[in-house]
Amino acid sequence: MPKTQVYHAVTERLEILGPDGTVDKDLLPELGEERVRSMYLDMIRMRAMDDKALKLQRQGRMGTWPPIKGQEAIQAGVAQAMADDDWLIPAFREHGIMWLRGVPAHLIYAYWAGDERGSAFPEGVRVFPVAVPVGSQWQHGTGVGLSLKLRGEDAVAVTFGGDGSTSEGDFHEAMNCAGVFRTPCVFVIQNNQWAISVPLHQQTASETLAQKAHAYGIPGVQVDGNDVFAVYSAAAEAIDNARRGGGPTLIEAVTYRLGDHTTADDASRYREDEEVEAWAERDPIVRLRSFLEQRGWWDADREQAAQSEAQTWVDRMVAEAEAMPPQDAGDIFTHMYAELPPNLAEQMAEATGGESS
């Protein structure tokens, strides 16, 4: 008997906005001038938030910060495609989309400066806290999707992670279960090429990360992650499909981590300046500004005003974060359980000298 083909798959890549600001008009989503401009303003604020955090860290006013510089288009594009009731399950390089989904920016600063209250999001904000153990959050995303499906909620769980996290077993388990249960999930890989010092080709022998979706029986697509229109279009299609009961989608957004892994890292130890410079020329913010200018939707005056407004906003957020009163001495104990158990009550009294009860 001859061998027969039992499975064949093709992985597609979506690009709409070129590095010079020109677009594929057939693929350009109909967002309109105001929404495109607001995405640009979102991205400017993200960049300002990131720059400020790095400065604060050097001044000793911020803890270890993972920069998002270069990855703003993914976060602005996906956020634009989400509906109010959708859940976001982030990893730890998603400050931009966390803010866009309703997390007050001053809480993001507070968290990374070492204050747990930075993960106590206001009621109604459907965002999980940062997940540091790499890849673990993919499983939560599938669980949230299953929860939404079982309760008949018309919402989608959008989970983020990095290229390195696709090597974790949890990534595989989460995609597999999402495929089996057809959960309303969209999984977004921010493929920024580097997991600290290990490049993508040492993470996987796969040509793309998107193609891994085929193994789980779910759609997978690669997009240019520095192209906000491609990200938005792929996310909107995937989210819409999930909401209509079509099950999960994996999106690989190819981008580049222009900064270090965190402020505790020195990326010059393991990668060449030329590589960073080449990617800096594909900066997603510059690219969208070129588009806006070519359309006549933007000019130097607007740019100056926007940059100045972003600085003012960031300064206000820093002031709010730094104005938070210190936590109570007993706060490390009181949130462990719904009710303080006797051994913790005893330890709390010991730790606080009876100040807090």
């Binding site: 993960s119 673990s136 499983q139 939560h140 949230v144 929860s147 597999n176 719904a338 158990p341």
Partner: protein, 341 residues
């Protein structure tokens, strides 16, 4: 006194009762809670059509359907990771890890997330879930089916850890665990899943978490134990009674939060304590109990606290498991040494 007699006194004499095994009591608790609360769902390997390898979910899929009794892919980390996502968004998952020896792949999800989410978010997101895990030895199984890993989780703040020793407690504690607002690890003594039946109430009831019981009263020495070892302690107490040794048995029932006062009251009364558990001795929970007794009841002690535990070895295969597990004779020897000190 047998366990059946002890629990008969806790049963409402007017209410209907039935004779159930621990496995049946566990199933009934889940059934009752699923009837009571639509957000309770079961997920695990073979929990659906098969009814669980120990039949602890037998028939539940027929009453509640595959949407609430979910056969998952064979992935422990996914079972717990998905449960965290579900619990944080309005569900009450009751996850089954088929054997506690297979919990390792899920430990990251348990320790890094389930136990921490409430604290990390200052109470905004919580994890009201139960993880049922058949634990312990004595059933002559293949490798990795006999472990008692409670210590791993008792040194990881954020969980409650519950271990029933009889059908009444199994039903009442599991119902309480499912209603609890925090993650509960529910360790089921698989060795005695079907070893005996007790007459227990047919109606739903709860046994509060964090309250120990004293299934056998005595004056000379206190045996402190939990789970399957409670039966062995009760047998030891019966045997020693014939030698005129009066043994009190404290069944902790919940290891975290620990009912320190019941335990310390007993030791204060008898002046002697022997802790019995299946897990290896070094770093076992017996060490914590001995330390607590030393901190709070030292001057009442007539003898050092002794531990009868598993040895610090890999859990042996079937032909050697009797050489590992604490027995009536090992416990009796420890009691006599304590009395003769």
């Amino acid at each position: 006194m047998s366990t059946a007699e002890i629990h008969a006194v806790e049963t409402d004499p007017a209410g209907a009762t039935e004779k159930l095994t621990i496995a049946q009591a566990v199933r009934d608790a889940m059934r009752d809670e699923m009837r009571r609360d639509a957000s309770v769902v079961i997920l695990g390997e073979d929990v659906g059509v098969d009814g669980g390898v120990f039949r602890a979910t037998d028939g539940l899929i027929d009453e509640f359907g595959a949407e609430r009794v979910i056969d998952t892919p064979l992935a422990e980390s996914a079972i717990i990771g998905m449960s965290v996502g579900m619990a944080a968004t309005g569900m009450r998952p009751v996850a089954e890890i088929q054997f506690m020896g297979f919990v390792y792949p899920a430990v990251n999800q348990l320790l890094a997330h389930a136990a921490r989410l409430r604290n990390r978010t200052r109470g905004v997101l919580t994890v009201p879930m139960v993880v049922r895990m058949p634990y312990g030895g004595g059933i002559h199984p293949p490798e990795h089916h006999s472990e008692s890993y409670e210590s791993l989780f008792l040194n990881s703040p954020g969980f409650k850890v519950v271990v029933p020793s009889n059908p009444y407690d199994a039903k009442g504690l599991l119902a309480a665990a499912i209603r609890d607002p925090d993650p509960v690890l529910f360790m089921e003594p698989k060795r005695i899943y079907r070893a005996f039946r007790d007459e227990i109430p047919t109606e739903p009831f709860t046994v509060p978490l964090g309250v120990a019981s004293v299934p056998h009263a005595g004056d000379d020495v206190t045996l402190i134990s939990w789970g399957a070892m409670v039966r062995v302690c009760l047998d030891t107490a019966d045997m020693l009674a014939r030698e005129d040794v009066s043994v009190e048995v404290v069944d902790l029932r919940t290891l975290n939060p620990l009912d320190r006062s019941t335990m310390l009251a007993s030791v204060t009364k008898t002046g002697r304590a022997v802790v019995v558990h299946e897990a290896p001795r070094t770093g076992g929970f017996g060490a914590e109990i001995a330390a607590l007794i030393a901190e709070h009841a030292l001057l009442h002690l007539e003898a050092p606290v002794k531990r009868v535990a598993g040895y610090d070895v890999v859990f042996p295969l079937a032909k050697n498991e009797k050489r590992y597990l604490p027995t009536r004779d090992r416990i009796a020897t420890a009691v006599r040494e304590t009395l003769e000190f």
